[in-house]
């Protein structure tokens, strides 16, 4: 049986527009939205290419290649609003999307504070933040990067016996944002990342451990060598062999860079305007108050050159900037977009984050704890009995109350030195006490994502084990 052949070919005019950039398409759809009753609207279009290869035990395990594109439309009919998105850019489908979005908006209630930001607030200058690297890598080169990283891990130590694999990812794309104020902005960005996850076996007990290490950069040339990443992954994995539980007790806790970044991430969520106006944050009513010691300063910087969270304008077209969130222990600013700012009687901080098809929310750009002067070594040396945390697992964080209880892996510290690896234990406290209890901040700030923290020591938490 032969079924009907009906290949979907996008309309010619739209196809031409895509090749010339999406600005004309955005303008056209915004005009259409106006015609169907929208008083204001904005549109976001994202497209890009991704490549990913996973190598395991020297052979390619999985290779993925794709191009993707997506368009999101948000309309306001008076003070009513709706958002839609599609991956189908055919004219017929986009026309339908515009009418459906306007219909949807008419079905929800009026929200007096909804709407686009004021026209005069839109970003005017578009600084080049050096976010895009046009380097095109051959498939075999990318496979080779992953293979070298895994080989480096496997050969680093005889106890490394197996591997979850190594992965190299590259992606590049662009974002176009336009609205009915006449704003139209576009930027390109790229990223390159390499990670390795070795598995080590304890010769005596047969027990296995895995850990991983990774590098991620916007510029390919800045990525650490596969050999360095592989060797670090192996070092982190074999040192976990022989991990045991420890006794239940209160002790000082040292978080390594990545786990300190995770703790800092809770602060980032708690200062989101949405969590605050819903009174779903443990930092409600704390603006202007001291939440940490004076050696704690936290910035969110959207304009860091080459930063993994940098962007010239936010998800509503407002200029990004550097915001001091915590100034020498005092909570000085929330992170806000237009809507959450209005709800709190404040101004947007340029932190609107927009995944295509969703309403704007608040997200960090480059959110980090300003480094101190001590090395990680010196911080560990300051602890007589305590815990050095290298991995956090589970979701035991209550953002409303600040209650914190998570599983950890790490090392027991005795007399200032790492004595033995530990696992199957938890640490617990409240986030309020944890931030107030930050005793030391390390000098080792490295950005491996939008959130970054140096090594951090907290005076005391409850460890539950035996």
């Amino acid at each position: 049986m032969e079924l009907k052949i009906d290949l979907r070919v996008p309309s010619m005019s739209y196809q031409l527009q895509q090749e010339n950039g999406y600005a004309p398409l955005a303008a056209d759809l915004l005009r259409q939205a106006n015609r169907f009753g929208a008083t204001e609207a904005d549109i976001i279009i994202a497209d890009g290419e991704t490549f990913s290869v996973q190598v395991r035990l020297g052979a390619v395990d999985r290779l993925t290649k794709a191009r993707e594109k997506r368009l999101g439309l948000r309309v306001f009919v008076g003070r009513r609003s709706a958002s839609t998105s599609t991956s189908d850019f055919s004219k017929e489908s986009l026309d339908q999307l515009v009418t459906q979005t306007c219909t949807l908006a008419k079905a929800v209630v009026e929200d007096p504070l909804s709407g686009l930001p004021a026209a005069e607030q839109m970003a005017i200058e578009r600084p080049d933040l050096d976010l895009h690297d046009p380097t095109k890598l051959e498939t075999d080169h990318q496979i080779d990067m992953a293979r070298r990283a895994e080989a480096a891990a496997m050969s680093a130590d005889s106890r490394v016996t197996n591997s979850e694999g190594a992965e190299f990812d590259s992606s590049s794309g662009r974002v176009v944002l336009g609205n009915t104020h006449g704003f139209i902005g576009e930027y390109r960005s790229s990223s390159f990342s390499l990670s390795v996850t070795p598995v080590a076996t304890d010769q005596q007990t047969g027990m296995m451990q895995r850990d991983s290490w990774y590098g991620i950069q916007r510029k390919f040339s800045k990525l650490d060598s596969p050999e360095a990443i592989g060797a670090e992954a192996a070092r982190r994995t074999v040192r976990r062999l022989g991990a045991r539980k420890t006794a239940t007790q209160r002790v000082p806790i040292v978080f390594d860079q990545d786990t300190a970044g995770s703790v800092l991430g809770t602060l980032c969520s708690a200062v989101s305007g949405y969590a605050l106006y819903k009174r779903a944050s443990f930092l409600v009513d704390q603006l202007g108050k001291s939440i940490a010691p004076e050696w704690v300063t936290v910035y969110d910087d959207g304009r860091m050159v080459g930063g993994l969270g940098s962007r010239p304008f936010d998800g509503e077209g407002l200029p990004t900037r550097r915001t001091t969130v915590v100034d020498r222990g005092v909570l000085t600013s929330y992170l806000l977009d237009t809507y959450s700012a209005k709800k709190l009687g404040l101004n947007s901080t340029g932190n609107a984050s927009r995944s295509v098809g969703e309403n704007p929310s608040v997200g960090p750009t480059n959110f980090y704890l300003v480094p101190g002067t001590k090395t990680a070594q010196e911080i560990i040396a300051s602890v007589r009995q305590g815990l050095y945390v290298t991995e956090l697992i589970g979701f035991g964080i209550n953002m409303v109350t600040g209650d914190y209880s998570r599983g950890v892996c790490g090392f027991w510290i005795e007399n200032g030195e790492l004595a033995y690896p530990v696992e199957e234990i938890t640490i617990a406290s409240t986030l309020q006490q944890m931030f107030a209890g930050i005793e030391l901040v390390g000098s080792d700030l490295v950005f491996r994502g939008r959130l970054a923290s140096p090594t951090m020591k907290i005076a005391e938490m409850m460890v539950a084990g035996n």
Partner: protein
């Protein structure tokens, strides 16, 4: 029988699909498939007594996959033209490194799934926005009426209507229509500066009437409010090793984390799971029998077929304490030489197939739940949980209680604040000494994440007693 999903949904013919499969299936490719997906999802949400957000998203695309030995080549496209299919096919077959020529593949034959576990009309999923708005408004009123200390109610109603077609180099084309919806409610309670949260919800592959039947949506609202109010009087959780009683239903997340992930075939093929060499061995006490069952009508984790077109199954994972087997997709079943269980799942056309759970639960035992609680001198009774996580390799897992009580002298006493439970997968079930007769599955809100892919799942548990597990509270 399930619905016959027409290829015309995707504007394609059988001949074109055969052409594309032939292009992927070069000499050294063992297996190839095309996964077409079209999904419409909608969400409305309420906060501060206003239903002020509505979103709708349409996605459509194709994932093209080739496997050769242990290798997988994968490409996807959100355009479905012949040219896009060809480009994706060329990218996917790259891994085989075979010289040029395509191989003939059988003329595909359209099939339909042999059962229909969720005969839900599209119209009963995509109901008028006004009906959803009315539902959310009623929830707000009900939750606030429950107790005047409820200061905010946030609720969202999400629906998804997904059509998929899988065409394989084995000559089959099979499609399914997969409706899914979820209602989720969060209440904030406030009293003298003490703020607490309660969350509840439910859903499944169900029509809109499911939420209206027996005023289920209002019961959800009261339950979220009850939890928030209860937490106002919660005391700090204890820290240390103690006996723990888990209540029925959602605490089945224990099984999902502690053993479910460890029994997914990919980790075992790679020998990176703490369960790798334990088939046939004792991993639980003999009161424990655990299954993964994708065939339960209307359940969130159920499917007529998995995302490779294999019918889903009821697979016994642990029988009276003995590990029986793994859950598999085609690639891992072939490489391990073990049965295909219909657990090959993917988040969307943009992701590769992995062995994943469906609905995972422990069968009912013989104990009276009250006797189980009475058997504990000093311990914890945990009835609701947030999320959990496991490290497959060392087997350590955690999951966090959102509603729990102290047990003192065989009686349930004070509510305690969220505590994390931590244990070791291959050991924890050997410490289960009593299993209740009150098996229940969860309400239908679970989502499982693996390698960055989220898929809907279910869990279930009767009341059980675990003789000892580490409780991560703050109190000595």
């Amino acid at each position: 029988m399930g619905e016959l999903v027409q290829l015309t949904t995707f504007g394609l013919s059988e001949r074109e699909i055969q052409g594309a499969l032939g292009r992927v299936k070069v000499r050294d490719v063992d297996y190839a498939d095309l996964y077409f997906e079209s999904c419409v999802s909608e969400a409305v949400s309420m906060e501060e007594s206003l239903v002020k957000r509505a979103t709708k998203s349409i996605s459509q695309g194709v994932g093209v996959r080739a496997t050769a030995g242990e290798k997988t080549g994968f490409a996807y496209s959100d355009d479905l033209t012949r040219k896009d299919l060809e480009l994706a096919a060329d990218a996917a077959r790259y891994i085989a490194q075979s010289p040029g020529a395509s191989q003939p593949v059988p003329v595909p034959v359209q099939q339909r799934p042999t059962r229909n576990l969720y005969p839900v009309e599209q119209a009963t999923v995509e109901v008028a926005t006004a009906d959803r708005v009315a539902l959310l408004n009623a929830i707000d009123i009900e939750a606030r009426r429950y107790d005047s200390r409820i200061t905010n109610v946030m609720a969202s109603f999400n629906t998804e209507y997904k059509r998929v077609v899988v065409a394989t180099s084995e000559g089959t084309i099979i499609g399914d229509v997969q409706p899914l919806s979820r209602l989720q409610i969060t209440c904030i309670a406030e009293e003298k500066g003490n703020r607490q949260v309660g969350t509840f919800g439910g859903g499944g592959r169900v029509p809109f009437e499911f939420y209206q039947n027996e005023e289920r949506y209002l019961a959800y609202a009261r339950e979220a409010a009850r939890q928030a109010i209860l937490n106002l009087s919660a005391v700090a959780a204890p820290a240390g090793v103690m006996p723990v009683v888990l209540g029925w239903g959602w605490p089945g997340i224990l099984l999902h984390e502690a053993i479910g992930h460890g029994l997914e075939a990919d980790f075992n093929r790679k020998k990176t799971s703490a369960f790798s060499s334990l088939v046939g061995k004792r991993v639980a006490s003999n009161v424990c029998t655990i299954v993964d069952d994708g065939t339960l009508p209307n359940r969130r984790g159920s499917l007529n077929m998995d995302d490779e077109g294999t019918p889903t199954n009821r697979t016994v994972l642990i029988e009276r304490g003995i590990l029986r087997g793994y859950i598999t997709d085609k690639l891992n079943a072939r490489l391990l030489g073990i049965p295909l269980t219909g657990n090959g799942r993917r988040e969307s056309y943009q992701s590769v197939v992995l062995p994943r759970m469906t609905n995972t639960f422990m069968l009912a035992g013989e104990s009276d739940p009250q006797d189980i609680i009475r058997s504990v001198g000093h311990g914890l009774y945990a009835v609701s949980f947030g999320g959990g996580q496991v490290d497959i390799t060392n087997g350590k897992f955690v999951f966090s209680a959102s509603e729990a009580y102290l047990i003192e002298g065989g009686k349930v006493t004070k509510p305690v604040k969220g505590a994390t439970l931590i244990g070791s997968g291959p050991e924890i079930l050997t410490k289960v000494s009593m299993v209740g007769h009150d098996l229940k599955l969860d309400e239908g809100v679970g989502t499982c994440g693996k390698e960055g892919q989220s898929v809907p799942v279910g869990v279930g548990l009767p009341t059980i007693r675990i003789d000892e597990i580490t409780v991560g509270g703050t109190q000595d």
